[in-house]
Every structure is written in C-alpha cells, then in structure tokens.
Amino acid sequence: MHARITADPIDPAAVLGRVGSERDGAALLFVGVVRNHDEGRAVAGMRYDTYEEMAADVLEAIAREAAERGTGADVAVVHRYGELSVGDVSVAIAVASPHRAESFDASRYVIEEIKKRLPVWKKERYVGGEAQWKDGVVPARPVEAEGS
C-alpha cells in the first residue's frame, strides 16, 4: 500500500508499477487530469490547495480501506497539489487484485472517497482570467453519541 500527497508532477506509470504480484490477474490505473472545460466554461488551469498533514492521513486511510474491501487488493494512490495546467495529472490510483471485480471496486472506492473527504480544494482559472473555488462536498461528520 502506498499513499502520498505531493506538489511534484505525477507519473501514472510509476504509480501502476507500485502494485501487482504474480497472484494478481488484474490491474487498474485511474488517472484524473485537469480538463479544458467545466460546466460550459473554458478552463485554463487549476490550483489545488490542501491541508497537507491531514490529507496525507486521510489518503492513507482511504487506501487502507480500499485494500481491505472484498478479498483484498494492492493499492497505490498519489494526489497532487499546487498550480496545474490543462492536461496535468491531479491524481493517479493503481490497484491490483487476483480478479477484476475487486480492482474495479477498490479503484472506484478510492476516487469516490477522495471526493467526499480528502481535504483538498480547487480554484479554477478560466480562459479570460477569472478564477473561483469549485463547489465541493461537505465531509460527513462522525456520528456523535447521544447526550455527549
């Protein structure tokens, strides 16, 4: 298992290279990329801010949870922050498992949980110069004990 949040460019092939063994029949690499449009507007780039220390913990927890789903998978995930341009890789998730279903399940789990609770924010820069924080997801709060 490998989880990292970094300001360095991500090499997706290297992330894929971190998973897999002779017992694994399937590997899956998800790559998130800054695209040139969002909700109808032309995008020039994206700034990713993060609460780095917490994000490292949360990303590791997500990877561990994904690895422990089903019959087990090998998981590596790297998320970037800083100034990104169109085409730059923002996240790479590699999973390997004996059978394909577990790889699809674990990969999807990691990206969906990232969207739900990784403390990362993105400020979209539009062609023309304007910029704004992208709408996000309110992280779920832990359930509190009655009367506490």
Binding site: V91, I114, L118, V120, W121, K122, W133, D135, G136, E144
Partner: protein, 83 residues
C-alpha cells in the same frame, strides 16, 4: 482555566478570514461549536464564517460537540473538491 488552540483556515474560508491561522484563547471545556460561535462573535470578517462548518480536530473530522483541549489544532474545512 484557559486553553489556547490554533484555528486553521483553508481555501474559501482563508479568503473570508484573510489569514491561514490564528491563535484563540478559550475557557477550558469549550466545544467546537463554542469556538465557532466565539469567532463569529468577533465581527467582520469572522462573522462571515458559516455557523456550522466541517471541522477537523487534530486532523480528524469531528462533530460540533467535541471538546477542545490546550494546544489543539482546529481546522475549518470548506466543502472538499479533490480528485
């Protein structure tokens, strides 16, 4: 008795507050929601913070009734948008 905590602001909340971090002195036993009320009561710009933001206490999401301790790191977490 008084405790001292570090309040951290990120992304849109940092833009609202105009700083990334502040030290806040509070009575012992203050909860997360007590801290939020305290800050919002300081007036502009803090009054523009939401009444019930997501909060991470020492890097873990907590509910509003969590009690703060001396030296705690209390992060105001805007809606997240990773990936």
């Amino acid at each position: 008795m008084t405790i001292s905590v570090r309040a951290l602001f990120f992304a849109a909340y940092r833009d609202v507050v105009g700083s990334k971090e502040m030290r806040v002195d509070l009575p012992a036993g203050t909860t997360v929601s007590g801290l939020v009320s305290h800050l919002r009561g300081l007036g502009d710009p803090y009054s523009a913070l939401p009444a019930s933001p997501a909060i991470a206490l020492n890097r873990t999401y907590v509910g509003e009734s969590a009690t703060l301790g001396d030296g705690d790191e209390v992060a105001f977490i805007p809606p997240v948008a990773g990936g």
